[in-house]
Symmetry: C2
C-alpha cells in the first residue's frame, strides 16, 4: 500500500465495508475467555496498513473487554507486511484519535510479518480482527495479457489465483487456530464474490484494462510491462470462504455477504468529473504499488512519474465519462469464527 499516510487518508470504502462486522467484534469481545492475572488478553489486528481504519474497532473491542473486567491488561498486536509504513500507525496511536488515549492498561505493538505464517506463540491470542485484507494473495501468480483483475479472467486463467487463495486461507486459519486459546474468536471482513462469481468491481477494472492497452498502443508502456501488471487479489465466493473453516479447527458462528457502494461513499455520480476527482485517490491508493512496482528496471524516475501520470490521468477521464460503470459496489464477506476446544 502507499505509505506516508496516503492509503489511510483514502481508504473510506474499506472502513465502510468493515462496519458490517463491528457489532460482531463487540459480541466476540464479550464472549471470549478472559485470561487469569497477570496474563494479558491479546487482540490481534491482522492487516493494519496505516492504522486509520483500525482505531474505532480496537476502541470498541477494548471497551467491551473492560466492561467485563476493568483490570485485565489488554495487548493489541497490529500486523502487516515488513515493508509496510508503520509510521502513520504509531503517530495515530500517540494521538487523541488513538484508542490508547483515555484508556489505561492498553499495550499496543506491531508485528511486521506476513499473516500467512506464524505471528504469535501457541494459545497466546484471545480475539482477532481482520478487515479488508484477506482477499490479498501472499504472492502474485503470473500475469495474464490484457487482464489485471481475476474476476475478469477466464476459468483457466483464474485457476492459479484460486489455488493460491485456497492455500493462503487454509494457512491463515491453521496458524490462527494454533495461536488462539480454546473459545477464542476471529472476526473477519474481506472482499468477496457473489455466488455467481462477480465482485462488483468489474466496471472499474475493465476501464483499467482499456487504459493500460491505450498506453501500450501509444508507446508509453511496453507490452512486457503491461503483461506483468496484475491486481494480486482473489475474491472468494461465500462457499470458498466457509469450506475449510471447520476442518481448520473453527466453529462458524455467523457469516454474511454485504456490500458497500462507492457511488454513495463518494457523494454520487451525477457529476462525472467531480466524482472522478474524488474517487481517483482511493483507486490510486490501492493500485499504484501493486501495478507499477514491476516496471522495467531501466526506467528512470522521470519515466516512472510520466507513466503514472498518463495512466491515472487517462483513467480519470474514463471514470468521468461513465461514472456509474466505474463506481464499485464491493461485495464483502463477514465471518465470525470460534476456536473449537482442543
Amino acid at each position: 500500500m502507499l505509505g506516508g499516510g496516503f492509503y489511510s487518508r483514502h481508504s473510506q470504502p474499506q472502513r465502510a465495508a468493515a462496519r458490517a462486522a463491528d457489532a460482531w467484534l463487540v459480541e466476540a469481545a464479550t464472549a471470549v475467555p478472559l485470561p487469569e492475572a497477570p496474563t494479558p488478553l491479546l487482540i490481534g489486528d491482522f492487516g493494519c496498513a496505516g492504522g486509520a481504519n483500525e482505531m474505532a474497532p480496537m476502541a470498541a473491542a477494548v471497551d467491551a473487554i473492560r466492561a467485563r473486567n476493568g483490570a485485565v491488561p489488554v495487548e493489541v498486536a497490529h500486523t502487516d507486511l515488513p515493508e509496510n509504513d508503520f509510521g502513520p500507525l504509531f503517530a495515530l496511536l500517540e494521538s487523541p484519535d488513538g484508542y490508547p488515549a483515555g484508556r489505561t492498561g492498553v499495550y499496543p505493538y506491531v508485528v511486521g510479518r506476513t499473516l500467512y505464517g506464524p505471528l504469535f506463540p501457541d494459545r497466546r491470542l484471545h480475539l482477532g480482527w481482520s478487515a479488508i485484507t484477506l482477499h490479498w494473495l501472499s504472492e502474485s501468480p503470473a500475469g495474464v495479457p490484457g487482464r489485471t483483475y481475476p474476476n475478469l479472467m477466464s476459468a483457466e486463467q483464474v485457476e492459479p489465483f484460486r489455488a493460491r487463495a485456497e492455500q493462503d486461507w487454509r494457512l491463515f486459519l491453521a496458524e490462527r487456530a494454533r495461536e488462539l486459546v480454546d473459545g477464542g474468536e476471529l472476526v473477519i471482513v474481506a472482499g468477496a464474490s457473489r455466488p455467481d462469481g462477480t465482485s462488483g468491481a468489474e466496471g472499474l477494472f475493465t476501464m483499467i484494462d482499456e487504459e493500460l492497452a491505450a498506453l501500450v498502443a501509444a508507446g508509453t508502456l511496453r507490452p512486457q510491462e503491461s503483461e506483468r501488471i496484475v491486481y494480486p487479489t482473489y475474491n472468494r465466493t461465500p462457499a470458498e470462504w466457509t469450506a475449510p473453516v471447520a476442518e481448520c479447527g473453527f466453529d462458524l458462528l455467523a457469516t454474511e455477504l454485504s456490500h458497500t457502494d462507492d457511488a454513495e461513499t463518494y457523494g454520487g455520480t451525477a457529476d462525472g468529473a467531480a466524482f472522478a476527482e474524488r474517487y481517483l485517490p482511493f483507486v490510486r491508493a490501492v493500485t499504484e504499488r501493486p501495478f507499477f512496482r514491476w516496471l522495467d528496471p531501466d526506467r528512470t524516475d522521470q519515466q516512472r512519474t510520466e507513466i503514472l501520470e498518463a495512466f491515472y490521468g487517462g483513467l480519470a477521464a474514463r471514470i468521468a465519462a461513465d461514472p456509474a460503470s466505474a463506481a464499485c459496489r464491493w461485495h464483502v464477506v463477514s465471518l465470525r469464527l470460534r476456536r473449537k476446544p482442543r
Copy 2:
C-alpha cells in the same frame, strides 16, 4: 536517529561499546525464571534504532534460553520512539542476518513508544537489554549559547540536563520494575562520565562548537538557530547510575566502567584526512537529526542542505587537522540488575 538504515550502517562504535556486556546478557538469560507453558518468555530490547546492533545480542540471549528449555516460546520486543524508522529492523529480521533465521518459536515484535514510560503489562517481562540508549534524554532542556554538549557546560548550565537525566532514569527503572517478573533481569550499557565528570568526547564536541560558531560568523547559520542546537544526552557518572537502583526495586549484581576507542574502531588516526572520511558518517548519524531539526521553519530544503553540507564539510576539515583530539574515547557503564522479589 537517521532513518533508511543510515544509522545502522554507521554505528560500529555503539556495538563495540555494547560488547562489554554481551557476556552478562548470556549470564542473565541463564539465570532468569522461565515461565510455565503456554506463557512465552519475553525479552525486551530497549532502543533498537535500525536493528543492526541488536541481532547478535538477541541471538545469544535466545540461544542461552534454548539451552535451558528447547520448547519455551520466546517473544522479543524491540522498542524505540514512534518516529523511529523501523523498516531496516523489519528487513533485518526477515534476512539471514536476523536472529529468527534458523531458530524456531521466536516471535519478534516492535513497540513504538518512549522507554521513559510504560511499555508492557505487569510481570510480563523476563529479561531486558538496552545498549547505548539511556544517556539520551526524554526531552531536550533549553539550549546553552556556544555549547552543544553537557560535559562541556558549567555546573549551572548543566543542571537542567542532570535533573532531567535523574528523572528519566528513575522512571525507566520504575516501569521496568513493574513489568519484570520477580528475579527478572536487566542488562544495560550506556554512555557515561568518569567520576571526574569527563566523557571522552570533549575533543569532538569542542570542534563542533567551533564549527557552529564559524557558520554563525559567516552568516550561514542564524544566531538563534545555533543557540537551539544541543546534543540532548547526559552521561551519568557511575555514582549517578547506581544511586536509585535499590530504591527502584533492583539488586545491583554487577557494574563496570569501560571504554571504546574510536581511533581504533576507525583504523587509526595517522592519516588525518582518511580518518575524517571514515569517521564523519558515524558523527553525522548521531548528530544530524538532534542538531538540525530545529532550523527556523522558513528555511527552504535547499538552504537546509547547504547548512548541513557547510557544517559537516567544515567539521571534517577540523577532524582531519587534529584527528587524535577528535577521536572519541567513549566511556560506557555496564549494569546488571535483578528485580527484587516483591
